[in-house]
Symmetry: C2
């Protein structure tokens, strides 16, 4: 469902054109392009989403073991469930495996999928098994529902005054963390029970671009506080920054595949409550359409809504 | 969901191992490996299935236009709905497009998907858009429900005495028909209202292998009547037979991608009723586990449960 780190500018344009040409359905209860869609019409629909992972892009089978690859394929889909505050129910795993791979690789892949699914209370109920002479492709589709009596949390509920929180630190995932997306379903469900989140999205393509998607869907802008962002820079972002020569903050803003949640809450939380949920405040939603980074001295500069183009390794 | 024409012996074995190792869920209301699975627990679940199509295997983008490719990708999934006598509701379309393709190709592909979906009353509600330097891959996932008050039709309800019918002619689809799967949803729903089908499957990999799947799931054998089969040999099978030197009947039995329905009905239908549904009788379900071809003179020979390995062209 989400465009991912491989999105080129042309692909955002593609989605816009699909909507304009009426080739996809924009009339449902969820904005087209959100983390999950409605699998059936009507109120309280079952939610679903598909994520496709490709060898050499989202993983590298010459480096990563197949069990890790399977875990990641499932975890990426589970991250979509977390972003909608929905409890995962079932999954389909469709694969096109490079034809020279041994049976062991296929079983390890499926064991990884099953392991990640089980950890989230999700059952693998079907799939589609193919082989071909090209690099392997995995497409996991997951179904989920909000808890009984709880509202859907989409991208479009953010409003001026809302406080922006992250469930974890960002940047430098390419050093290895991108193969181990965190499981944020429990905290997402707990937030939906206790904190009334206005909007959520998972950081799959980078904080800047994913925040811009939430803001675009909600018709708002945002101000991120540079001193607060300092606290959510992952150690991996600092390590990577020493290799790339870019600032660690740039990695935290623009690297993809962290799979933490970005949450808009109605107001800032008491510090103890934020800590209980593992939430870090990074800024606020404002009127307008701009994303700005506000330095300690009050100076503002715009944040570009771009993700990081990273190779796999 | 279904293993497809690219299934190697190792992939049937893979599914068996997944079940044995407990890596997939075999406890649902539908046998694992049926045309669709249950997207949520409980009675009357939403059904879903994924089908992955790969360039150079299921289509050839150097020969087929992208609109036709999109139509086929959707139609293959709709065929799964027909096989379960379920009305399609919504679809997700995940793609990894070869990165040098122009935007036009992506739009044509999606237009084909939308066109086939619309013809079946199905809405395209989401997807996942990627590009990569390898041949294109498309994974369509569809959701569906039986009509209100109607039972699920799976593969496992066939029983001795049941009559075996086909919704159309078979063989030689590789000459071009494989790109235009027939839409058998209306007849499937009508059969489920009026004829009480015991078991159904769509012929994706070939009559012999798909019949063997129905029989295995049902714990039965079957006898197909050679003179009846003569009437379901497609003209394309005869044309292809002239090229391959194999008998036309071998093409009808073992070629894949016809996407007609194989239906087990409780008893043979009056001829006029069969004609009204466009159904052709081909044989019967029997005790045991064997598939036999019965010649006009009563001579029997076993039918091998193998599909045709065909190149794309």
């Amino acid at each position: 469902m989400p465009a991912n780190e491989n999105e080129r500018p042309g692909e955002r344009e593609l989605v816009a054109q699909l909507l304009r040409l009426g080739l996809v359905d924009a009339g449902g209860p969820i904005p087209f392009g959100d983390d999950m869609a409605a699998a059936e019409p009507g109120a309280a629909p079952l939610l679903w989403s598909s994520d496709m992972l490709m060898d050499g892009v989202d993983f590298d089978s010459s480096v990563h073991d197949w069990r890790s690859i399977g875990r990641k394929a499932m975890a990426v889909s589970l991250s979509d469930c977390a972003a909608m505050a929905a409890a995962p129910l079932a999954a389909l795993c469709a694969i096109a495996l490079e034809q020279r791979l041994p049976m062991r690789a296929a079983l390890d892949l499926q064991a990884g999928v099953a392991e990640a699914a089980r950890a989230a209370g999700c059952r693998v109920v079907g799939g589609d098994t193919n082989s071909w002479p090209q690099p392997s492709v995995i497409c996991v589709t997951v179904s989920a529902r909000p808890e009984p009596g709880r509202a859907l949390v989409t991208r479009r509920g953010a409003r001026p005054g809302a406080a922006l929180y992250l469930t974890g630190k960002l940047g430098g995932s390419i050093l290895g963390r991108h193969m181990r997306p965190p499981l944020r379903i429990d905290v997402a469900l707990a937030m939906n029970r206790e904190l009334g989140p206005l909007a959520m999205i998972d950081i799959s393509d980078g904080l800047a671009i994913d925040l811009s998607r939430m803001l675009e869907a909600s018709g708002c802008g945002a101000e991120l506080e540079a001193p607060l962002l300092e606290d959510v820079i992952h150690d991996d972002a600092r390590t990577l920054a020493r290799q790339t020569g870019r600032p660690p903050l740039a990695h935290a803003l623009h690297d993809g595949e962290d799979f933490e949640l970005l949450v808009a809450l109605p107001a800032p939380l008491p510090k103890a409550l934020a800590e209980r949920f593992g939430l870090a405040l990074i800024g606020r939603v404002v009127e307008g359409a701009e994303m700005a980074l506000v330095a300690r001295d009050g100076q503002r500069r715009p944040i570009e809504p771009r993700g990081w183009e990273h190779p796999v390794g």
